[in-house]
Amino acid sequence: MAFEGIGASVRRKEDARFLNGRGNYTDDINRPGQLHAYVKRSDRPHAKINSIDTAAASKAPGVVAVFTGADIAAENIGGLPCGWQIHNKDGSPMAEPPHPVIAVGKVRHVGDPIAVVIAETKQQAKDAAELVAIDYTDLPAAASLAAALAPGAATVHDDVPGNICYDWHIGDKAIVDGVFANAHKVVRLDLTNNRLIPNAMEPRAAVGDYDVNSGEYTLYTTSQNPHVIRLLMGAFVLHIPENKLRVVAPDVGGGFGSKIYHYAEEAIVTWASAKVRRPVKWTAERTESFMSDAHGRDHVSTAEMAIDAQGTFLGLRVSTQANMGAYLSTFAPCVPTYLYATLLAGTYKTPVIYCEVKAVFTNTVPVDAYRGAGRPEATFLLERLVDAVAYDTGIDRVDIRRRNFIPADAFPYQTPVALQYDSGDYQTTLAVALKNADWAGFEARRTAAKARGKLRGIGISTYLEACGIAPSAVAGSLGARAGLYEVANIRVHPTGSVTVFTGSHSHGQGHETTFAQLVVDQLGVPLDQIDVVHGDTAKIPFGMGTYGSRSLAVGGSAMVKAMDKIIAKGKKIAAHLMEASVEDIEFANNTFTVAGTDKSKTLTDISLTAYVPHNYPIDELEPGLDETAFYDPKNFTFPGGCHISEVEIDPDTGTVAVVNFTAVDDVGRVINPMIVEGQVQGGIAQGIGQALLEAAIYDESGQLISGSMMDYTMPRADNLPNIHVATENTMCTHNPLGSKGCGEVGAIGSPPAVINAICDALKDYGVRHMNMPATSGKIWSIINAGPSKMAAD
C-alpha cells in the first residue's frame, strides 16, 4: 500500500463526488412540501420606507405568505448579532446599531431585504414580489468612506452621528510620535485597499424545515460554521434552544469568509417554515450575491515609517479608515483591528508601532472578513511602504528587508503590537525565493523584454500572517463574544475502521483527505477505512468552523488530542488482554505491543474487545472506543514567506501580464503537499485578482456599478502565470502538529508583490505607488502622462 500518512500527496477523497456532479449542496436539498422564498431587496441606496403594500402580492397565484420587517418586529425576533465588540480610544464601546432581519423604517443599501414572498414555486414568488408596492422617500447616501466622513454627510444610522462605528487604536502614540520627531527620515505613503466581492462559485442558499411534531427546526445552509450559526441564530435572533435547532452545512462550494456570517435569509427561512408549517427554500441568484454577500477589504490609509540613515526601521505610524458597510456583519469589527493592526510589525523588528482605525458606516453592503481578513490589508500597506522606503532612500529593496528582518534566533519574538511570534526564518524564505525566481538574472530579462517593446518589472513581498485563530481567552479579552477552540470526536468502530467528527468545515479545502491522513499517521488505519464527517450540528459535538486558516492547526490538533485519548484507553485494554502493565504498552503502526516482547494486539483486536467486552477490565474502564477533545490553541500560528512577482507591461495599451510568480511559504508541518500547493495557488489567484482586476465600485449615489460578472472582473486562468509554489518550513512550537496554516497565505502575500513589480516596471515614469487594481487604463494614463526617461532614450 502506498504511503498515505503525513507528507503524502494523497489524491483528494472528496473529488470523486465533486467531479462527478454527485456533491450534495444546499440547493440540492429538497424537502417534501417545500415552498420557495424570494427576497425583495431595496434598489435604493438609502431611503425612508413610508409604506409597504403587500395586498396584491399576497393574492398572487401560488403565494402562501408575504412578510415584511413589521411582521418580524411583531414577533420575539432579535436583530442579526455582531460577534465582536471593539472599544473606542476612550474606552467606550463601539456603536452597534440594530441590524434588522428585514428592513424596518429605512433601507440602508442596495440589496437590503425589504420583504419576503413565499410561494409554491420560485417563479411565483418572484412574480408576486413585483407586486409588493413600496413607497420610499429617497435620502442622500454616504456611499464611500470619504463621503461618509465628510462634514454634513448623510447619516446611515440616525443614532450614529458622523457614521463612526468606532475610533480605535493600538500602541503608544506619544512614544511613537517622539521617535518620528527625532528620526533621520520619515517615508510616507497614502494608499487604499480595494473593495472586493467574494463570489464563491456556489451562491448562498438556505432551507428551513420545521417539524410540527417535535417542535424541531432544521436549517440547511451554505455555511463555513454551522454551530456558530446555530448559536447566533438560536440564541440571539429566533430564540430557539440548541436541542430544538439543527443546522446542517452540507457540501459547500467555496466560502472565502463570505459564508462565515449569519445572514438574514437563514433566519427568514427557519422562522417562516414554522409560520407556514412547510419547508421553505431560498437560493441566491448571482446578482443577489453581489449585493447581499458581505464584501471584503475597503480601507483608506496613511502609513509612515521612521528610519535612520542606514534604513533601519525605527517606528511605524498608521492611520486607517475602514468601511463597515451599512450594518455590522458578524465579525466585521475585528477585521480592521485585531486581524490588521496587530500584523503591522510583519517580518520586521520595528520597535514601536502606533495604529489608529476609524470604522465607518456607509450605504453599501456590509463588509467583513474575506480570505486573509485584515492581514492582506496590513501586508499590502507594509510591503508597499517598505518599497517606498527603498525608493526614497535608494537602498536596495532586498537589502532593506534583510536589514530589518526579525532574525531566526529571536523567537519567540514579542512584537510591539500584541502578538508573540513562535517561529520563522525570513532570511531563508527570502533566499530560497530569490533563487527560485532567478532574481539575479532579472536585469537580463528586463533588457530582453525592452527589446520586444515591453516594460518588465519584478516585485517582492516578505509577508507574515497570524492565523490558526485563536486562543479563546485572548480573543475574549480583545472583544470576541465566542470561544475559538475546535472539537474532534474520533470514533473507532468495532472492526477498527474510523469515523472522525470534526467541528471544522470543509468547503473546498480537502479536509476529508488531510484529516484522514492524520488518522493514518497516528492510528495506522488505512485511508479507505477512515471517513470524516463535518457540517451537521446533530452529529458533531460542537465546533467553531473553518476560517482564518484554522482547521488543521486547531481542528487537526483537536483530532490529535482525541486520538491520544484513544491510544491511552487502547493501552489499558491491551494491557489487560496481554496481562502486562499499562506503562509497558507501546503503540505504533496500528499495533499495541508489550515493550521488549513479541506480544502484540492490533487496534482492531482492541476495538473489538472494547465493543464486545467479555474479557475486559469492566470495573475500571467503560466499553467503547470513542473519544472527544476540545482543543484551545495556546497562540496564533505565524505563517510567513516571500512572494516574487514578475510582470510585463505593454506600453501601448497599459496591459499588465504577470509572467512569473514564485512563492516560498513557511506553513509549518505539511500534511498533504498537493493540497497545500493548491491552496497557495488559489490564494495567489485571488491576490492577483485583487492586484490587477477586482474592484467593487459604487457610484456617488450608492448604486453598485460593478454589480455583475459583466463588470466585476474575476481572475481567470488566462490572467494567471504558471505559479511556482515551494515551502520552507519552521514548525509551529505550540500545537502538536507543528502546522501553521496555508489557506490564506496566497491572498495575503501576493498583492504587494504584484504592485511592487508594476512600480518597478514603471520606475522610469516616476511611479512610486499605485493603488489596486492596476488596470490597463490606469497604467496607460501614467504612461500617456509622461514625460518619461524611457521615451527619451
Binding site: E130, T287, L693, M709, M710, D711, G777, W780, S781, N784
Partner: protein, 264 residues
Amino acid sequence: MYDFAYQKPGSLADAVKALGADGDAKALAGGMTYIPVLKQRLAKPSTVVDLSGLGMKGISVAGGVVKIGAMTTHMTVANSAEVKSAIPALAALAGMIGDDAVRHRGTIGGSIANNDPAADYPAAALALGATIVTDRRSIKADDFFTGMFSTALEQGEIITAVEFPVPAKAAYEKFRNPASRYAIVGVFVARTAGGARVAVTGAGQGGVFRHAEMEKALTGNFSAAAIKGIKTPPNDLNGDIHASSEYRAHLVGVIAGRAVAKAG
C-alpha cells in the same frame, strides 16, 4: 422570466407571420443574449418565436462572396474551412466571441440583429461591406447599423443570411473588456475592391462606426505606418469603469495599427 407563449415555426413564412402579427413577439436564435434579458425580466414578450426550425444554417462561397446562414453558430464559422480560406479574419473573429459555450449557441444572425455596441460581428460586416439578407430584402451594412442596439430591421423582419464579399486582405484585432470579454475596442480592417475599410466596435457611443480618416490613409498605403499618428476624437466615444473615452480613443489607434499589421 415572465410568462410568454412559445412557437417554433417550421417555415420562414410562418415565422414572419408569427412575428408580424404581434408587435410584442420576439425572435429567438441562440438565446445567448435574449435568454439573459428574459431571465433578468428586462423584456416581457407575448410570444417567443424560436427560429431553430427554419434551417438558415450553413456556409457557401461563390462568386467572391461568403454567404453565412443566419442561424450558423460562431463555432461553425470559426471552424469552417471555407471561411478560413476565403476570409480568415472572419473565422478568427468568430473564434474570439465569448467562450466555447457561447460560440456553440450564439448565431451570426442574432449577433448582427442585436447590434450590441461591443459585439464583434458588426465590425466585420461593416468593414467588409457585407449585405444583410432578410426575409424581404437585402440591406447594405452601411445602412443596417443605425445606432446602439438598433438596426434597420422592421418589426418581425428576419435575417436569413449575411453575405461577405471576399477582400484582398483583412484582419480583426480585439482589446477585450477584462470582465465581460466583449470588445472595449475592436477594429476590423479590410482592403477591398472599393478601397480600404476600417470599422470600429466597442468604442462608439452610437455603436459600430467606420473610421474615415484611417480608410483614406490606408487606401493610399495599406500599412500600419500610414495610420500612425491618426487621432480619434474621444468626444463620441464611450467611457465607463473599464475605459475612459480618452483611453478608448488611444486604443482605437493602437488596435487599428495592430490589425493592419496582422492583415499583412
